[in-house]
């Protein structure tokens, strides 16, 4: 087990370095300087600005200085919002995105997990086909289509729920969470169905049934742990997907989260903000992949044994 954890942690370090380096140089070779759009400025001001953003140094000096800042957790100043640091912008946006992602994940886990388990109990019957067809719709219906449709139906025609904002009026968190979570609910439904089907056909489930346990105990206590393993392994990629999916959902519902800041920064060419949030998001995604892999390995006795032997 520790071998596995150590191996995965060691693997995460080069990944992060690659992310930081590639992002840094990509942003630097981007055409157009950050102050090009401004009116002509006096050379002294220009020089002062360049010094503040370290643009007067060589590329290599900028890179090492940036790495030094990063090691202290400093993402630098924003190009577009003078006087605000990238850290502040992320601190303002990320809690909103994290909350949205958390609710979306809850939606995905509960709806998807329940659908998958229900479908697996009676395979190839209506009880299987109905939830699985719904899951297929969830996979094929992209969030940027589902979101506007939900707004149209529940926000405008029925007028039940607010169509934008986050925490401004009651119920305005419902539609964004469903929009973001539905695709992952669909994937989780498919994964948990496959996982449960595999587990339910195994001997220890027959033993549990043979000793007279009620069916709900067999399903919820014996089968669930093994059956949901693929779902746990999927949580890492799902988290990454939720973060990038929040770009769209936050744009649709006008939520002041990190995803919206990121897209705006992309349009404004706020290079330090793009660089900082890419590094921040990438680090989070790498960490979550790591955690979900370790959790899945810990839950899987076979994998534990495999790495325990070495």
């Amino acid at each position: 087990m520790w071998h596995f954890v150590g191996y995965r942690v060691l693997q995460a370090i080069p990944v992060l370095l690659v992310v930081i380096t590639v992002t840094f140089f990509l942003v630097r070779i981007a055409p157009g300087g950050p102050f090009d759009s401004e009116k002509a400025v006096i050379p002294e001001v220009q020089a002062a600005l360049e010094a503040q953003y370290r643009l007067n140094l060589t590329l290599w000096q900028q890179y090492t200085a940036y790495l030094g800042d990063l090691s202290r957790g400093d993402l630098g100043p924003s190009f577009k919002y003078p006087g605000r640091s990238v850290n502040e912008l992320i601190a303002a946006g990320f809690p909103v995105t994290a909350e949205l992602g958390f609710y979306a994940l809850l939606v995905a886990l509960f709806i998807g997990g329940a659908a998958g388990i229900i479908a697996s109990l009676r395979p190839n019957t209506a009880q299987d086909y109905v939830p699985m067809s719904a899951a297929m719709i969830g996979i094929c219906m992209p969030s940027f289509l589902l979101g506007p449709m939900l707004i149209l139906v529940f926000g405008i025609y029925l007028d039940w729920l607010p169509v934008s904002g986050w925490g401004d009026s009651p119920g305005d968190k419902i539609l964004p969470s469903i929009t973001l979570g539905s695709a992952y609910a669909a994937y989780i439904a498919r994964l948990s169905r496959a996982g449960m089907l595999e587990v339910l056909s195994q001997d220890y489930i027959r033993t549990a049934r043979a000793k007279g346990l009620p069916e709900w105990q067999v399903v919820l206590k014996h089968a669930l742990r093994g059956g949901l393993l693929p779902v746990v392994a999927f949580l890492g990629p799902a988290f990454a997907g939720l973060l990038s999916g929040s770009f769209v959902v936050e744009t649709i519902f006008q939520i002041p989260g990190l995803g919206r800041f990121y897209v705006q920064a992309a349009f404004n060419r706020d290079y330090t903000m793009i660089l900082g949030s890419t590094v921040f998001l990438a680090t989070l995604i790498v960490l979550f992949n790591l955690l979900s892999d370790i959790l899945a390995a810990w839950m899987n006795p076979r994998l534990r044994a495999q790495y325990g032997e070495r």
């Binding site: 498919r190 769209v248 990121y262 992309a266 790498v286």
Partner: protein, 295 residues
């Protein structure tokens, strides 16, 4: 070859091949067949668009403005008075082209990479697959957004960027296939006949791994199309005056309160295509009995 009037003895003895078997199984899967039909229909339409489109591609009619579906404009018009059906036909061409071309890029890189790693084995394999592992952990979605911002919205770059993301799984699948195939006698026979590794991979290994490759390709196309639509929706993908279903959906979402048809029809087209590809992919997986291409 001329078609024989009767089945010769040799043909009767040959029985059914894997592909005939798979085709028979696929035909029995109604959803997959529907998917195949819809897909072929869309592809034919996309190829014939310049002749089918009822109006000019950039033909505006500002006085007309947005109108709901009518006899003159079957799917209505947008705020510039452009015919929505025409826009969707041209948009579909681009959406499908991105789906197929980017998948082809992914296919080419992934199959080559996986086949070499699996065939070479040992240290070469270890290095090549560690690289795949590392790339797997990169948050590519964010990188594609970054690429689009830095280099502008370039179609070629879009193909390359999407293709570069999707080849990783293909490489893993191909490597696993090659590893299990290369133990078999026919590969040993090919080696002892003195065939070069490149020829063995091309002539013996790739054809035998075709099943999983086809299945995974069919499932990659919809995810690529989704990615393109996602980028276009954010304004980072296809740029006007060109259009794609993703871009049309994004315009439709802006004015859906007044003109819902501008959102609904492009949305239907995209969803229907994704549905068809997914059902076809699932059907092919069952027909070719491939495990682990998805989930």
């Amino acid at each position: 070859m001329s078609a024989p009037a009767t089945i010769s003895l040799a043909e009767a003895e040959r029985g059914t091949s894997l592909w005939q078997d798979a085709w028979r199984r696929l035909r029995r899967n109604r959803l997959a067949v529907c998917g195949l039909f819809v897909l072929v229909f869309f592809i034919v339409i996309a190829l014939l668009t310049p002749w089918l489109a009822p109006y000019g591609y950039a033909q505006q009619n500002l006085e007309l403005g947005a109108t709901p579906p009518s006899a003159a404009h079957w799917l209505g018009t947008d705020i510039f008075g452009r015919d929505l059906l025409t826009l969707m036909l041209y948009g579909g061409r681009i959406s499908l082209a991105v789906g197929f071309i980017a998948t082809a890029v992914a296919l080419l890189i992934g199959v080559t990479w996986g086949a070499i790693a699996g065939y070479a084995g040992g240290r070469i394999d270890a290095v090549m697959m560690r690289l795949v592992d590392i790339l797997y952990a990169l948050p590519f979605m964010i990188f594609i957004v970054l690429l689009m911002v830095v280099f502008g919205r370039n179609m070629l770059l879009l193909f390359l960027a999407i293709g570069a993301v999707e080849w990783l799984t293909m490489a893993r699948i191909m490597r696993a296939q090659v590893q299990s195939l290369r133990q078999q006698e026919f590969v040993e026979a090919a080696i002892s006949l003195g065939l070069s590794p490149a020829a063995i991979i091309r002539r013996h290994l790739v054809p035998n791994a075709l099943g999983p490759i086809i299945v995974y390709t069919t499932l990659t196309i919809p995810s690529v199309m989704l990615l393109e639509a996602f980028l276009s929706f954010l304004g980072l993908g296809v740029q006007p005056p060109q259009t794609s279903w993703g871009l049309l959906i994004s315009y439709g979402a802006e004015s859906m309160e007044e003109y819902p048809w501008l959102l609904v029809f492009p949305g239907l087209a995209l969803t229907l295509t994704l549905f068809s590809l997914n059902f076809l992919g699932d059907g092919l997986r069952d027909a070719l009995d491939v495990r682990g291409a998805r989930d």
